[in-house]
Amino acid sequence: MPQFSELQKDALCEIFNISVSQAAAAMSEIIRATVKLTVPKVEICDVETAVAYLNQGNARICGVSQTFHGSFDGKAILIFPEERSLELVRLMMGIDVPMELLTDMEQDALAEVGNIVLNACLASLSDMFSQQFDCELPQLVEGNSLSLLQGYGAGNVLILLHIKFSVAEHALEGYIIFVVNAHSMKALEQSVDKFLQGAGDI
């Protein structure tokens, strides 16, 4: 497991805080409501730890994932408890849309939310790291957290971002996770160090 110093972790936290905040602003525009974020925590962990974390109270989850490539490669995943995803779609479309139509539109709507939110996140990361990331198309994912993450088991490292967002009056909440391939960790560390150099004397 790669070891990041406390300062590097703090930098990662701040970098992801900024990028997720931009994403929350994008989401806020879509659903026309204020999105609240918790204070972020970053954990570098293996798949089992991430699965255990995501299983807290949510047997089934759904979300949108987007693979990105750059000096480091990985996947950004936006996750909702499954029972809340329709609520999100309802917020997007307005309250007068019939339930059957909502269900029909659910997948399209979630993909669109994921696309906007994750792109805002990655654009912000790209600005701060002064690097370009190429993004693949967003993919809908659903199931339990193990099935969601098991493809990343062998030797991969996850950056588990404990950022919970909520839309207070609608009891909607979710998580954002970044999965970074093990072979990309060195490149990520170098990017963080370069970011820290911009701060001047530590």
Binding site: E6, D10, V35, M128, L196, A199, D201
Partner: protein, 125 residues
Amino acid sequence: MTNKVLIVDDSRVSRIFIRNFIRQLQPQWQIFEADGGKAAIALAAEHRFYAVSLDYNMPEMNGFEVADRLKAIDPHCFIGLLTANVQRSTQEQAQAAGLYFYKKPINLEMMQQMMMDVEAYYAAV
């Protein structure tokens, strides 16, 4: 008298960025740092600050709650809210609270703008 500035941010990295930019732009200013609302309020009870650089998303108290407490101690102090939370509701709330709003990430241009705002703020008082 030396102007005192208070940096309130739970991120050590952010405090380093802000501190170094202020040193560069206002080398004569005396810089204080707090890693959260409680420490900031304790410092404000001891010192009169010319300007406060305040993060929004912090544990225990968010930036607006801290600003309320700081304004209760010194209603005339300049407070700049530095945040990546660029939602319209946050900007409106900052404006209503009399706070200056700065969008993270922290960079030299943003800090230069804040220094100009501080000068304009006191020139208008």
